[in-house]
Structure formats: structure tokens, C-alpha cells
């Protein structure tokens, strides 16, 4: 049975993501900076992941494939981090508690190893596909 755990997700800025957005969201810099997830070692172990393994992260409103990396900034067990941006926003709930601000931090997600054959999609594919404009598959 595939392992699956539930974590509390936060999505915030990283300096690599900052450099990525000014270089352009369709650049490799942005892709590598944003299509990642950081977790506590205990949670990585629980999932039995090897370094840089792809995982599927699913929230109440969607899922995204990202790469599990070991970050510099330590989290406590149960907390997970994806840099803000295109990848994080595939799963960020739009609920705003009537303030206008979506739930960018502190929403439950399940994390599991990505099924074989799944890949990290490009930013363009994610966004255009979401609005029905993606033509890359044809």
C-alpha cells in the first residue's frame, strides 16, 4: 500500500523564488525554485522517500506534483512548505475568511510518493491547462 501522510501546508516566499519571478516564470530558475516541497526528516522517513523524489500533494481543491527536497530552513514534524507561486497555488484554497486573503498558509494536505510516470509539469502547462488553453499535448 502506498504511504500517504497528512501535513499542514504553508506557502511563502523564498529568495530563489524571488529571483525566479524576476527572471521569468517560464525559466528553469523559476521551475527549480518553486516546484519543490520541504518537510521535516521524520515525515520524509514516514513516506520512505529518497532525496529529490517526486511527490503528489493534494489539498481540498487540487493536487500538484513537486520534488521533495531538504531545505535549509527547518520545519517541525507535521509542517510542510512549498514556495509561493504557480505550484503552490494549484492547491491553495481560495477561502478568505471574508478578508479577501486566500488560505496561503495553514491548510491540510496529503503527501504521497508520485505515481510512476508522473512528472512535474511546466508553469505554462499548469496555468493554461487550468483555464482550458493548453495546446502542448496535441
Amino acid at each position: 500500500m502506498a504511504k500517504k501522510i497528512t501535513l499542514n501546508m504553508i506557502t511563502q516566499r523564498s529568495v530563489e523564488e524571488g529571483v525566479g519571478i524576476v527572471k521569468g516564470k517560464m525559466t528553469p530558475d523559476y521551475f527549480e525554485a518553486c516546484s519543490i516541497i520541504e518537510m521535516h526528516d521524520d515525515d520524509v522517513k514516514a513516506l520512505g522517500l529518497v532525496p529529490n523524489q517526486l511527490v503528489r500533494v493534494t489539498s481540498e481543491c487540487g493536487d500538484v506534483i513537486v520534488k521533495a527536497v531538504k531545505g535549509r530552513q527547518a520545519l517541525y514534524p507535521g509542517l510542510a512548505f512549498i514556495p509561493q507561486g504557480v505550484y503552490a497555488n494549484q492547491i491553495v484554497p481560495a477561502r478568505t475568511q471574508a478578508t479577501g486573503e486566500p488560505q496561503y498558509s495553514g491548510f491540510p494536505v496529503t503527501v504521497e510518493p508520485a505515481p510512476v510516470g508522473e512528472r512535474r509539469k511546466s508553469t505554462l502547462e499548469l496555468v493554461q491547462r487550468a483555464v482550458g488553453m493548453w495546446k502542448g499535448d496535441q
Binding site: 499542514n8 504553508i10 506557502t11 511563502q12 516566499r13 523564498s14 529568495v15 524571488g18 529571483v19 519571478i21 524576476v22 527572471k23 521569468g24 516564470k25 517560464m26 481543491c61 487540487g62 535549509r72 530552513q73 527547518a74 520545519l75 517541525y76 509542517l79 512548505f81 509561493q84 507561486g85 504557480v86 497555488n89 494549484q90 491553495v92 484554497p93 481560495a94 478568505t96 475568511q97 471574508a98 478578508t99 479577501g100 486573503e101 486566500p102 488560505q103 496561503y104 498558509s105 495553514g106 508553469t123 505554462l124 499548469l126 496555468v127 493554461q128 487550468a130 483555464v131 482550458g132 488553453m133 495546446k135
Partner: protein, 455 residues
């Protein structure tokens, strides 16, 4: 011969460093070197010349873009605005105040909702300020006086790279000649961030429980007892931190998205302000929001003096402005399918909104105004390129402490490219023309006495 331009403001984050030195080619068209900027700021300048379009691009039925003239793009935009019942103009994190003022004029004429990135960022701070005020200071005060610095739910090492060296932790100011050595640094964050690395005390608060921890701080400050552990933090650590706050000569609490994006939103900020107010009964304390983009403070200033509201302005009633975040905020409007046209300016909503509201907005005409291709341009009906404020276009921007900084131009925009202010002024003119055409067609309502026609 290359020439050096000094005192250049950085068009990235709310720190608004104004000490950059940019070397440009003799013809004023190329940036050769950028000094004093952080890695992100320097990248902004170097990438300025890449990947640019000189003409607007209109989406064709086959999904590709075709170049059109500015006149055509302005006409298209004006007609979209005119036709829509409730258009939304959103963004403005990366433009100057002149552009924001011109955009508001367009929004008022068109009867649009106008909103800025604070809506998904520090909007909660505004809500808290409406309720509780904002005992703050300028960043120079912190530099010259502060001996205790708190970063709460903020990670300047990543989001505002020169904040700590220019204003808070490291600089030697007038009363702070010892610099870092004379200051105590407290970082409160669920992660051991790179900012926490330089802290004297790091309190690893349980995510989403900042309110509890603030409450504990206030309780201890008032001399009462608290449980052995609050929000994942041991009582001794809380008591120790509160003692430091209390003994400060001058302190500043910098807070960020950790408060605004988590459960509680404005309530987290509200209690942070209450803590600051409490501390002023003992000594001098100030609080400041770590505003993200270099001019995201700007629209809050401009629209406050124009309409009395900093964000989420519903001008669709046409005779008065109305603001009610939750109702008139961009994401909520999108989720309720209330807007029927979208202008994305100086931000990238397609990347930075959760994907759900993006899907809703895309059901209607979507126009993106941005110097570069972005996620938004890749799903837009129309992309109108503009000059980059702070690189190709001068103007006033507001730093995170509400201090206006006069930005300079260092190189020319690509030939023929308009700036945001010019673009909105021309959209405004076009709207006036369309209005006049309409009025000519339908023998219309008489203008009320005292109203001045046209501009």
C-alpha cells in the same frame, strides 16, 4: 563610454533601497552593471532588456497572439470596460503612484472595482488598522534608536534581503553606534528560517497559533500567569522574551505573511497592535508591516487620498465609493463570479492567485498590462506592454514605512512603449470619446447643473 547613474531606487521589494549604482551604455539603452543591490534587485535590472515586446498583442481565434497598435489596444480596453457591468482592475504592486492615480480615474469613469495586491497580502493589516490603529515609525527611527527588534511571521532574509542590514539588525545609527552588538533580536516563526539564524531568541510557534502566543505575551506583560506551554512555546521562553521587550529603550515589531495568511488573518495583526499599544505603557514600541513589493504601499496611499479607502474599492455605484473586503475583494468577487472583465496590471494574478479564482476570471475578457510576458499574459486576450517603473520610467513609490521615494529612470523603454500613466490617460480619453458617441446616439439624460463636462 559607459555612464554611472547613482541613487537609483530598486524596483523589487518594499525595502526600496535607493542607493543602487547602475552603469548603462553610452546610448542609454543597455544596463551593464548594478552595484549595491541584492541578488533579486540586480536580476530585475539585468533582465529588464530581455523578453520584451514593443507592441500590444491580441489573442487570435487559433490561440496565438498577433501584434496590434497601441491605438487598437486602447480602443479594445476601453470597449471592454464600457461593456462590462462590473469590471475589475487589479494589481499595482509594481507601478508608480502616477499610474495608480490615472488608473483610478479610469476605474471611476468606467464604474469598475479597483483593487491592489494588498488584497491577497497585507489586506488583513488594513482591517486590523481600521479597528485598532497603527503605532509605527519610519525605518530611520528603527535604525537610529531601536535596541530590540522582533520579526514575527516574517522572513526578510528571503523576502526583503537588505532589510536587516539597512534598517533593523545591523546598521549603526545615531543612538545605536554598536550596531548588531547593541541589539537583541527575537524571531517568531514556525520554521527555523534563515532570519531566525541571526536571532538571539527564536520562538518556534505552532503554525496558525500566533494569536495564542500574542495573548500570552500580553498576559505576562500585565503581570499574570500563563500555562506552562502556549502555542508550542515554553512558558520560560515567553517570560524571557517579554522581559526583553519590556526593558527595551525603543523596539520595533516587524510582522509578515505569517500573520496575514494564516487562520485568524486580521485578528493576528490586531492583537500584534494591541501588544504594541500595551508595551507603550512601559517604554517605546512601534510596529510595521513588511510590505512586499516596492510600491504596494502606493495604491493604499493614492486611493486613500482619492477615495478614503486603501484597497477593494467598488466604484461601480458611480456616485460614491464603497469598500468591504470579503465582498469587494478580488478573490471573493472572482469566486462568486461577480466580475465580467479583468484587467491585470503590474502583477501576475495567474501565478499568485490560487488557481480557482483564475479559472473564474478567465471566463471573461482578460487584459494584462505588464512589461514582460508572465503567466497572466499567457492566458490573456490582450497583452499591453509598458515601461518598467524604476528602470525605464521614473516616479514616486512608497516604501513599507509609507515614506515616498522618488525613483529614477536609468534606460529608455523600447521604442514606442508607453508607461502605465500614459496608457491609462489614453484609455480614459477613449472612454470619454465612447461616452460622447453614446450620448450623441441616445438623446440623453441632461447633465445635472454644476457638472463639468469632459476633462
Amino acid at each position: 563610454m559607459a555612464k554611472k547613474i547613482e541613487n537609483v531606487g530598486c524596483p523589487f521589494c518594499g525595502v526600496c533601497c535607493d542607493d543602487l549604482v547602475v552603469t548603462v551604455s553610452d546610448d542609454g539603452k543597455k544596463i551593464l552593471e548594478v552595484e549595491n543591490a541584492c541578488i533579486i534587485g540586480s536580476t530585475v535590472f539585468h533582465r529588464a532588456m530581455e523578453d520584451r515586446h514593443a507592441l500590444p498583442r491580441l489573442r487570435q481565434p487559433d490561440g496565438t497572439y498577433k501584434e496590434i497598435s497601441y491605438d487598437e489596444a486602447i480602443d479594445y480596453t476601453a470597449k471592454v470596460l464600457q461593456k462590462a457591468k462590473k469590471p475589475l482592475i487589479y494589481g499595482f504592486g509594481s507601478t508608480n503612484c502616477e499610474g495608480m492615480a490615472a488608473a483610478a480615474k479610469v476605474a471611476e469613469k468606467a464604474g469598475a472595482v479597483i483593487d491592489n495586491c494588498a488584497s491577497i497580502c497585507h489586506g488583513s493589516s488594513f482591517l486590523a488598522i481600521f479597528d485598532n490603529g497603527y503605532p509605527s515609525c519610519t525605518l530611520g527611527e528603527t535604525k537610529n534608536r531601536a535596541d530590540v527588534i522582533v520579526y514575527w511571521g516574517a522572513n526578510p532574509a528571503h523576502a526583503h534581503p537588505r532589510h536587516m542590514s539597512r534598517y533593523s539588525i545591523f546598521p549603526r545609527g545615531f543612538f545605536t553606534g554598536k550596531g548588531h552588538k547593541g541589539r537583541k533580536i527575537i524571531v517568531i516563526d514556525p520554521r527555523h528560517t534563515d532570519t531566525a539564524q541571526v536571532a538571539d531568541i527564536h520562538l518556534q510557534v505552532k503554525q496558525g497559533h500566533d494569536y495564542d502566543l500574542f495573548d500570552a505575551f500580553r498576559t505576562v506583560l500585565r503581570g499574570h500567569d500563563i500555562p506552562d506551554e502556549v502555542a508550542g512555546v515554553k512558558k520560560e521562553k515567553i517570560v524571557e522574551a517579554v522581559e526583553i521587550l519590556k526593558k527595551a529603550r525603543f523596539g520595533t515589531i516587524f510582522y509578515g505573511m505569517g500573520l496575514c495568511h494564516s487562520d485568524g488573518r486580521n485578528h493576528n495583526v490586531d492583537i500584534a497592535i494591541s501588544l504594541t499599544r500595551d508595551l507603550n505603557d512601559f517604554t517605546k514600541w512601534t510596529i510595521m508591516a513588511m510590505r512586499g513589493h516596492y510600491n504596494i504601499t502606493g495604491p493604499g496611499a493614492v486611493w486613500s487620498w482619492q477615495y478614503g479607502f486603501p484597497y477593494c474599492l467598488d466604484l461601480t455605484k458611480r456616485d460614491i465609493a464603497h469598500m468591504n473586503p470579503g465582498e469587494t475583494s478580488s478573490v471573493d468577487l472572482a469566486m462568486r463570479d461577480e466580475v465580467d472583465a479583468f484587467i491585470n496590471i503590474g502583477t501576475d494574478a495567474a501565478a499568485h492567485f490560487p488557481i480557482e479564482p483564475v479559472k473564474h476570471l478567465r471566463k471573461h475578457p482578460w487584459i494584462t498590462i505588464d512589461p514582460h510576458p508572465t503567466m497572466a499574459t499567457e492566458i490573456s486576450d490582450l497583452h499591453i506592454p509598458v515601461g518598467i517603473v524604476g528602470v525605464e520610467v521614473p516616479g514616486i513609490v512608497y516604501r513599507m514605512d509609507n515614506v515616498p521615494i522618488q525613483y529614477r529612470k536609468v534606460i529608455d523603454a523600447p521604442d514606442g512603449v508607453l508607461n502605465d500613466e500614459e496608457l491609462f490617460e489614453r484609455i480614459y480619453q477613449r472612454l470619454c470619446e465612447l461616452e460622447a458617441e453614446d450620448a450623441a446616439k441616445t438623446p440623453a439624460k441632461t447633465t445635472p447643473e454644476g457638472v463639468r463636462a469632459g476633462e
